[in-house]
Symmetry: D2
C-alpha cells in the first residue's frame, strides 16, 4: 500500500511520470491530480485527473529508478550491472562494498539483492543525491559514505568499483575480500582496463577475466525487424577472484 512520501509512477497512455504521494498536485495536458489521493492506493490501481483521464499507479522497481531517479553524470547501464551480479553470483547472504556511487544506481540494484551494502562516494554532493535516491528506493541496508573508499574497513564478499582506479585500490579491495570473494571494476577506457588487469593478476589467485557486453536491441516495426543502431560500448568489466 502506498504511504505518504512514497515514490510512485503514474503511467498514462503515452507517458509516465515519477511523482511522490503526499501534498501538492501534478498537472499535465491530461489534467490535474491531487498527489494526496495516491496515499492508500495499491500498485495497478487507477487514478483519474480532474478531466477524467486515467493513469495507472506503479510502484518503482530498480529499472524505474534507473530511468527516473536524479542523475550525476553517466550511470552504469543495466546490462553492465547485470554482468556484475551474474559474474559474482550476488545474493542475499552477501556483504557488498561499492565505490564511485554517483547517483546510486548500482547501489540500489545491489541493495535489493545483498544483505548489506556500503557505498563510498568522495564527492559530497553526489553522496547526498545518492542518499535521496536510495531512500526513495526504501532500502535501509545501503549506507552511503561520503568518503574515500580507501578508508573502508571490514570484510566483504564483493567489492565493486566504478571510478578512477589506482593500484592501491586493487590492493585495498583484495585486503577486504573474504576467500573466494569477487572484485569487479567498471572502466570505460582500454588503458585503465589494462592496468587494472595487470594489478589484479599480481594479487588475485582465483582468476582474472575481463569482459565487454555489447548490447543490441532488435527493433520490430511494420517495415520489418532489424538490429537497431544504438550505443554499442559503455565500459569493460574486470572480474577478479580472491
Amino acid at each position: 500500500m502506498i504511504e505518504e512520501g512514497d515514490r510512485v509512477i503514474l503511467v498514462g497512455s503515452k507517458r509516465e511520470y515519477y511523482l511522490r504521494a503526499g501534498p501538492g498536485k501534478f498537472g499535465s495536458d491530461a489534467g490535474e491530480i491531487q498527489l494526496a489521493g495516491l496515499v492508500g492506493k495499491m500498485p495497478g490501481d487507477r487514478i483519474e485527473t480532474h478531466l477524467g483521464k486515467p493513469f495507472t499507479i506503479r510502484v518503482p522497481r530498480p529499472p524505474d529508478l534507473f530511468c527516473h531517479g536524479k542523475r550525476s553524470g553517466a550511470p552504469m547501464l543495466p546490462k553492465d550491472i547485470g554482468m556484475v551480479i551474474a559474474y559474482t553470483g550476488m545474493n542475499r547472504k552477501d556483504s557488498v562494498l561499492d565505490a564511485g556511487t554517483g547517483s546510486g544506481v548500482a547501489a540500489i540494484y545491489f541493495g535489493g539483492i545483498a544483505q548489506q551494502v556500503d557505498t563510498y562516494e568522495i564527492r559530497p554532493e553526489f553522496a547526498r543525491l545518492a542518499e535521496k535516491n536510495i531512500a526513495d528506493a526504501h532500502l535501509d541496508n545501503v549506507t552511503v559514505h561520503a568518503d574515500d573508499v580507501l578508508s573502508a574497513e571490514g570484510s566483504y564478499d564483493i567489492v565493486h568499483l566504478d571510478m578512477m582506479i589506482q593500484k592501491e585500490h586493487v590492493a585495498h579491495a583484495w585486503s577486504l575480500l573474504v576467500p573466494g570473494g569477487f572484485f569487479v571494476t567498471y572502466t570505460p577506457f582500454f588503458e585503465q582496463t589494462f592496468s587494472v588487469i595487470d594489478a589484479c593478476n599480481e594479487l588475485f589467485s582465483g582468476g582474472v577475466n575481463c569482459f565487454e557486453c555489447m548490447e543490441r536491441e532488435l527493433t520490430r516495426t511494420v517495415r520489418g525487424t532489424r538490429p537497431s543502431t544504438r550505443v554499442a560500448h559503455s565500459g569493460f568489466l574486470t572480474i577478479a577472484r580472491k
Copy 2:
C-alpha cells in the same frame, strides 16, 4: 562452517574440484584427501593431501554451480541471466516464476535473490537433476515442479521462460503477473523471438523490448591484448512489462 553433505570446491595450484564433505576420499595426482576432514572447516581454510599438497576450501557461489553443477543441455549463460536480473530489477521482495528449468542454473541465480521461486520443468529427469543442484545450493525458497508451466497458478512479479514458447504461454504469463511485473523470455532463434515480440505487443501495455547481449572477452598476454574470439551469440531476451 562446512557441514556433512555440503558441496565444497577444493582449489589447487592449477585445478579445482567440486566435491561433497562427508564419507569417502578424493584422489588426484596431488594425493588423497579424506572428505570427512572437510566438515567443520571454514571457507579459505587449507587442507592437505597425504602427500602434503595444499588445497584451499571454497564454498560454492552461483558461478561455481554454473561451472561445476551437472548439466542437461545448454544452460543460460551468466551474461543472459544477468540481463534478466537487471532489466527486471529482481530483488528480495519478488516472487518469480521460472520455466524450462533444465539443470536449474537460472533458478539457482534467481533463488539467491528473490523471496521465492517456482520453477517448472516438464521433463521429469531434468526436474530431478535440477532439484539436486538446487539442494546443493542450499536454497529452500526454490520449488521445482515437474509439470507444464501452463498449470502454474498464483501471482508473480517476474515470469521467466527459457523454453519453446507458444502464444498461450505469453497469455498465461500475463495473467499471472502483478501490475508492473515483467515477463522475460530467452529464445535462440529469430523466428521464435519475432513471434514472442508480436504476442507480447498485443498484451503488454508497459513496453516490449528485445535485446541481444554480445559478450567479448579481452585477452591479455605477453604478446599483447586483444578481444578474444569466443562465442558471440547465445539468444535474444525479450522483456515485456504488464
Copy 3:
C-alpha cells in the same frame, strides 16, 4: 593535371570543400578563390585565397565521392561495399550488373575496379543524379540504365542488388551469371534477408552465405582509447554463387 570541369577537393586546416575547376569563385571565411585558377594544377599543389590562406588540392577518390557526392537516401557504407568486393573477388576482368543505383556510390566503387558496370535505377531522378556523380568520377565504363533491372540482358560475373528484392529478381540474376559468378544482395531487414536466402538456396549450387559486418571505430584521445559508440548495423549481405 586538373582540367576545366574536373571535381577538386580543397583541403584547409579544418575543413575541406568539394568544388569544380572552372568559372566562378569559392568563398569561405578564409577568403575567396577563383576556381579557374585550379585548372592546370596538380594534386598536392597549394592554392591561396585572396587573404593568403592556403588550401591543398586533392583529386577525389571513391571515399571522397562517398562523402561529398550528392545523395539520394542512405547509400551503402564503404564497409559493406568492401565486403561485396572481397567476397566476390571483384577485379578488372569482371562485368558487373548493379541495381538500386541510388546516387551511384556502389557503382562508382565497382567502376574503378571492374571492366564494365551496368547499373539499373528505376527512379529517373535518381538515375540522373547517379549519372552526374559517375561523370564527376571520370568513369566511362559505367552505364546508368533508368530502367527495371528485370529488363537487363547479357552475361555477368557479378550481380549486386541494393533494392527491394522479389523472388523473380533472384531467378533473373541467376540467369545472367556466368558459371562460378556471384550474386550479392544488401538488405537491411531480417525478413527480406531470410526470403533472399531461401530463394538463393533453391537456385545457387555454389553456396549461399549471409554476413553482417559490424564496424566499430576506436577513438583515441588524451582521456584514453575506447570503442566509439557509432552506428552498429546497416544491413545484411547475402552472397550466393552459381
Copy 4:
C-alpha cells in the same frame, strides 16, 4: 579457355578440388580424371571421372585462392581486405605498396584491382610461396620483393602493411605516398594499434581513423535462423591519409 598449367577448381556434388590442368591424374572416391583433359575446356564445362561422375570446371577467383592457395600463417580475412579496398577506394589507376606478403592473399586481391602492386616479404620462403600463388592467379602486375619494406622506393597511392610495425615504417610509408594517398595497417593487438595511431597522428594531416570489422554470419536451418558463433575478432585497421 583453360591452358596447360592453369589452376582449375573441380566442383563435385559435395566437395571441390584445387588442381592444375596438364600432366597426371586426379583420383577421389568418385573415380579418376586425367588432368590433361582439362586443357581447352571452358569455365562451367563438365568433366566426368572414369566412373561417370560429373564435376563442373571453375576458374579460380580471388576468394578461391584465399580458400585453396598454400598458406603461411594466418592470412588477412576477406572482410578486412575489403575494408582496405573500400576505405582507400583502391582502383585501376593505383600503384600499391604492400608488405608482410605472407602467402600473397592481400597482394592477389590488390593485383586484380590496381594498376601495379609491389609486395615486400622479408622471409624468403614466404616470398617464394607468394610468388607461386600470384603466378597461379595470372597476375603479371604484382612484383614480390624478398626484402625489407624499408628498402622500397618510388611513389604510391596506397601503402598497406600487415606486419610488426615500427615508427620508422610509418615515416617511410608517408614519404612514399602521393598527396591524398592512404596508409593502411592491419594489427591484431591493441598495443601496436595504439602506437600506430599515435605515429600516424604526428605525420598524416588528412585524418587518421581506426576500425574493427566484426563479421557475423547468419545461419539458417530448418530449426530456425540465428547469428552463428564464429570468430569475431581478427585485427584493427588503421587508415591514415596524407
